[in-house]
Structure formats: structure tokens, C-alpha cells
Symmetry: C3
Subunit: 289 residues, 3 copies
């Protein structure tokens, strides 16, 4: 369950030190876009200390490292450095081919086996290029260690040469294809970032649209977005109450031999019951808002 995937640059110990203040479901120490090229080598060297210090802080969520993209000169060195730490997993950006997952999967299956962990490490993939979007369905099911993917709309739109709008129709196809790929593979789907710094309303609206599509969490590029994401991806109290009423009404109906019921103005059968059960289950895990 990753409602909030919260990034801070690997070369900014001051920002990393603030992770414990924000209750993210997953924290990301970012060696990629957040760290400028000239600072990448040093940030990599500092990774062990950063992870150790954050481990000591008992973060409430997963702690991961985003490595540089598979095509870059940094990729294998970043993975090596990340796996040398006690991080819970790695975030691999700009995934385009299943083979790009191999080095990380190899380490998880082999090296980690000789030094067993409570939980196996996880891989979170970024689908944020044209090639990645085209291959989304295959990428999501490419490796059992890939537990989640995020859709990176900014990178995708940059490669397309397109322009972002608040409504986001220009990325609806790609955003849909990625969440469908993730759900087909049974993995977690994390929605695009909102880069507007002071526009919390836009973040909320965008999260609502992501949730409608089936996303269960969101990239957070600002600390204040973490709490909003956690809330946005929890069901609302009235949704939960409605779901409970629906489930009860359906139980009564089925006992009376009916498979379809007229419930509060809607024709309810299997699919709507299933959605209501998901809502209640989700509220039990993350609470209602």
C-alpha cells in the first residue's frame, strides 16, 4: 500500500533529515532527477550514511533509493550502492525493457539470499517514457520483485514534446495504459506528480482523477503533498457508510433470492457489490477521511 511516494534529493542531507516529519508510505532517496549530474558520484558515496541515519529514525514507511535510469552510466553503480545499504528496495526510473530489471532482480534473488531479510527487497519501476508506456503491460508483469510502478507524466510529456494541462487529457491514454498494465499484473499503481507548489486544490483534484482510474497513491515532490495524498487515497467517510449500507442491503436481497437490487437509486449487482467491499476493506486498512 503506497498512497504517498515521497522524493528528496540524495545530495541534500538537510532535506533527507526531514523525512521523519512526514508520514509517507514510501520514502525515496533520489539519485536521479533530484540530484544534478556533478553531484551524483558524491551522493552515491553518501548513500550508506543517509540510509543508516534514516533507519535509525524509524520511518513509518518503506525506505527506498531511486537509481539513475538504466541507460545511464550510473545505473549499475547506483544499484550496487543501494543494495549495499539496508534500504527496503530500489526505484528504477524510465523502464522500457524487461531486461533492465535483471540486475536488481538478480541481486534480490542471490545476494540477499545469503544475508536474509525479514521482507525481500522490492523494485518500484517508473513508466515515464514513450517506450515505457507502449510496453507498460509487459513491463508490469516482467518480474515478481516489481511490486509497484509509477506513471511519470512530466517525463512522458517532455519526450512527446507535448504540453501539460490541469485536466490532463493529453496524458489520459498513457496514464490509463499504465494503470491497466499494473492492475493486470496485480501490482501497485502510483499516479503522476503535480509540480505546482502552492496549488493543493490542483493536487487534490488530480489525485481524485487518479483514484477514479484505479491508482492507489501518488508521487509527492513536496512534503506538504504527503498528508494530502494519504488522505486523498483513503475512502471518504460517507463512501464507507454507503458501502456498508449497500453490502447489508445486498446480503438481505440475496437471502431473499435476488441477485440485482434497487438500492438508493442505483441498480446494484455483482460489480457494485465488489466495489463496496473494496471500499470497506480499504477503510479498514487506511481509515476513512
Amino acid at each position: 500500500m503506497i498512497r504517498s511516494l515521497f522524493f528528496a534529493p540524495a545530495n541534500r542531507p538537510d532535506l533527507l533529515a526531514k523525512f521523519p516529519r512526514f508520514a509517507a508510505d514510501c520514502y525515496v532517496i533520489d539519485l536521479e532527477d533530484g540530484t544534478p549530474p556533478a553531484a551524483k558520484a558524491q551522493a552515491r558515496s553518501a548513500l550508506a550514511a543517509s540510509v543508516a541515519s534514516l533507519r535509525a529514525a524509524n520511518l513509518p514507511g518503506l525506505l527506498t533509493v531511486r537509481v539513475n535510469e538504466p541507460g545511464s552510466e550510473h545505473y549499475l553503480a547506483d544499484l550496487e550502492a543501494a543494495f549495499a545499504t539496508d534500504a527496503d528496495g530500489v526505484v528504477i526510473p524510465k523502464l522500457e525493457h524487461p531486461a533492465q530489471l535483471f540486475p536488481a532482480a538478480h541481486w534480490i534473488r542471490n545476494r540477499d539470499r545469503t544475508a536474509p531479510r525479514k521482507q525481500p527487497r522490492c523494485i518500484i519501476g517508473g513508466i515515464e517514457s514513450i517506450g515505457g508506456v507502449i510496453e507498460a503491460v509487459n513491463l508490469c508483469r516482467a518480474d515478481p520483485n516489481l511490486v509497484a510502478v509509477y506513471f511519470g507524466a512530466e517525463d512522458f510529456a517532455a519526450e512527446m514534446g507535448g504540453r501539460r494541462t490541469a485536466l490532463g487529457n493529453e496524458v489520459l491514454y498513457a496514464r490509463s495504459q499504465v494503470v491497466i498494465g499494473a492492475k493486470a499484473a496485480g501490482i501497485t499503481a502510483i499516479d503522476q506528480a503535480v509540480t505546482d507548489i502552492r496549488d493543493d486544490a490542483l493536487f487534490r483534484e488530480d489525485a481524485a482523477r487518479g483514484r477514479e482510474l484505479g491508482y492507489v497513491g501518488k508521487i509527492c515532490v513536496l512534503p506538504r503533498q504527503v498528508a494530502i495524498a494519504n488522505e486523498a487515497f483513503a475512502p471518504a467517510a460517507d463512501e464507507v457508510a454507503y458501502a456498508r449500507r449497500l453490502i447489508e442491503a445486498y446480503r438481505v436481497a440475496v437471502a431473499a433470492g435476488k441477485g440485482t437490487i434497487d438500492f438508493e437509486g442505483k441498480m446494484i449487482d455483482g460489480p457494485l457489490l465488489k466495489r463496496a467491499e473494496q471500499t470497506v476493506k480499504r477503510a479498514e486498512r487506511v481509515g476513512a477521511r
Copy 2:
């Protein structure tokens, strides 16, 4: 031509008996979601009588049976029961693989051949799961007996863990992929249900959007939706009049050696002529509204 695909539960003879009151293009006796699990076996046993009684009522449309999904324990028994009746075909929900069509296609090709029918039985498929949407193009062309598919947005959205909105952007990708798959295969595409019981305006709007995408009919979960669907998928009188004027203007233009004309504010060439001809042809089959 299926403008209205009208469902009633197989275990509700009282509702099935009302079929003749509503002029659907295709009626469905529903053994799946409409019939609760505990009632399925008995509903299957009652199928022969239900079909016989509805046959005697001379319904104006096709009479079909929706069996339970291919993955369920009921699938083959339901098919067996459906083919033992005089129904015009079967509706197979949650199609995901071409092979799932095989048992029904086998019966049509073999058993029905020894007891010939005026019209071969048909299969109508439901594309309403993530796997089905991903495979939509292949599914639609998988078997010559598959004459139509419907897009089941509620089931799809439930599996995605998404949330439905009135505008429906959250299913636009899937709804588009299914209608494209159907049209590529040359089969009938039937649009999603609207579950709001008293909101006829929403049904009309949703039908209009489905028609824009290329759908030619709609799932009806309520009797009152049948007439609305029949009307919504017929061309409007002013559309037909416009189309006739366009065709005539184009005829005159072509005779004068022009392939492109300025007609009532639009630049008209082949594609718009083709659409006008479709409109007139459709009005000749189903009337205008």
C-alpha cells in the same frame, strides 16, 4: 442491429414474463450477475420453460441466455442448458481468451448442424475485465460466431479499483479499445450500462457519448431504458435531413468534377459523405427520431 440489450434475472419468472412489454432488440435471460449463487442451479433448470414461454410470446427481438463466466464452475453446465433450448444465442461474460469461446462455437458448428435452424445461433461476448480489455482486438476477431460484444464498465472499474463518474473519462481508454476492437472485426459494439435508476438524462447523455465513439446500442438494466436506447441509437430527423442534403450536394459537385465541396459551412469530401450515407442507411433500418 442491437440498440438495446435488455437483461432480466433467470431466477425471476415474474420479470422475464414482462419481456414482451418492452421492444428490445435483444433480450437476455441472465444466469450470471442477476441471479444469486444459491439460486443459479434452480434457475438453470427453469431455463427450458422460460425460453419456451418467451418463444410463445413472439418477442420482437433476439432471445438469448447469459451464462456464468468461463472461469466459473457453472460455465459448461449453463452452456449445455442454454443450447438445449430454442434460444437464439448465448451471452458469455468476462471474455478474456479466445479459447473460452470454443465450447459455444463447437456446439454451434456441430450440434446445431444436426438440428438445423433458420439462423445460426450467435454468441455475444462481454468485455468487462482488465484481461478482456487488453485483449479486446484479438477477442473480437476470435470466432465467426461472435457477432457482438458489450463493454461492461462496472465490472471493469470494480476490477481496476477505480471510481465511476458521470463523464466517464476513467473508462474512456477501455471503452475506446473495445469499440475499436469490435469495429475492426466487423461486429456489433454495445455500450456500457447506466445503473442510476431514475436518471434518464444521464442514460441519454451516456448513450450519446457511446454513439460518438461508434457504439450502436446499449446495455439496459431497467425496462424503461429499452425505449430510450432504441431512440438514442436511431439518427435524429435533422441529422437525416442534413445527410440527404449533403449527399445530393455532393452528387451535383462530383458531376461537375469536384471532389471537395463547401457545404453549409463544412469542407466535405469522402469521409463526411460516407458518414452521411451511413446515417441515411441507418434511418432506413431503424427510423429517425
Copy 3:
């Protein structure tokens, strides 16, 4: 760079003669939809003279010939006639299979080689059928001589039996798939036509939506649309100024060891920098509006 792909019928020398008045990036002498069937043979015969005369006029953009669709009886004769002229390339409508590109590619690789040209001839493909949209990704990368594709929404919608709206949600899936296919192959993506003759505002809005998706130009079916397209696909002056400020701020930040900056209310990192650089580069090529 094709901001405006401007069509006139091959059988209308009066309209072709007006090409020099409008500064299109690419002119198309149209043997397909613009020329009625009975006039096609004669238009083909007149092609050499039309091209020669337009060559003499020193058009500012590419001069091409749209042949009839690959499935038609005219296809090979049209190609033969087009390649016998000094045109810069051919436009092949309704592409559905890579093999359909073969005859044109063969001529470019073989015949043109014996009579070398400054620039090799180009092929521009039309993706405007259901089959073409389904195969868009493969079609776009099928041949190195294919330098651009356009999305033909009217033909596509006609084959779907759908209806066009101003907003265009009914073709969003197809329009997205085509531009993604083009960008994945690194070729130019040209957006759909607007057939409303006097509605320049609609043309502008539709061009803006196309640009958001990543399209870099538009089909023009009317002379007045050429200048509007050229303008619509150039960056706005304030966009360029914003991009220049962003690039400078990012340069300063990187020098200070930051990879992510808070810039005028947005959280900026790699992707947004990349988009800003594209904007400036584009303004340097086509100017700002």
C-alpha cells in the same frame, strides 16, 4: 518541420495555382479524396505539368503528391506518376500494413539513386482507418523513408460509425495512439483536420489540443488555415520568455548543487528543464507568436 500540411485537389489547376499565396510547410496535390473518381485519370496525367509549374513558383515548403489509397486500383499508377515528377515526396493515405510502403520505398532506394536528388524523397503516411490506428506503432517505424504521419480523424470516425464533437473525446484514444507511435519512431506527427470552414476559433482550439498531445502541425483543408496552423504550432512569446528564465534559474541551481528547484511556483527538475529547452529550440526554428 511540418506545421501546416495543405491540400488542394489535383484536378483543380485553379486552386493549385494559388499555392504560392500561402506559406505552408508542406503542400499536397491531392489525387485521393479531393479528386472525384471520374477525374482521377486525367488529374494523374496533368500531374507532371502541375508539379513543374509549382516548382517554377519557388514554394517556401515541400511539394508532395497524395496518391490514392494502397487498396485502390489507382495506387501504383499514382505512385508512378508522382515519382516521374520532381515532387519532394508522396503522401500515402489509409496506411494499414508496412508492406504498403514498399513500392514507394523501393522507388526512393532504387530509381532515385540513379538520378540523385539534393534531398531524398520522403513519404508521409495517413493513419486514418481502424486497422491503421491499431497498427500505428508498427506502421510509424516500418520504413526509414516515412518521415511523417498525419492522423485523419474524419476517415477514422466514418469507419467507426461514430460522430465527431468539438471536444473530440471520441477520437482521443486514436489521436493519442498515432502521436505516440510517431514519437516512438522519431517521426513528425501531424494532427487532424478541422472541416468547419468559418470557425477559426475551433481550428485554434483543436490545434492547441493537438499540440498538448505532442503533434507539431496540422492538416489544412482551407487556405486560411495555413497561417493559423503555422502560428498555433509556434511557441507563444511568453512561453519562450518563461522557458529562458527557467533554463537560467536551473543553470544557477545546478551550479549550486541542486537538481530540483522551486521556480515561479513549480517544482522543476529534469523533465521540465527538457521541455523548456525544446520550447527555446523550437522558437529559434520557427519564431515565437
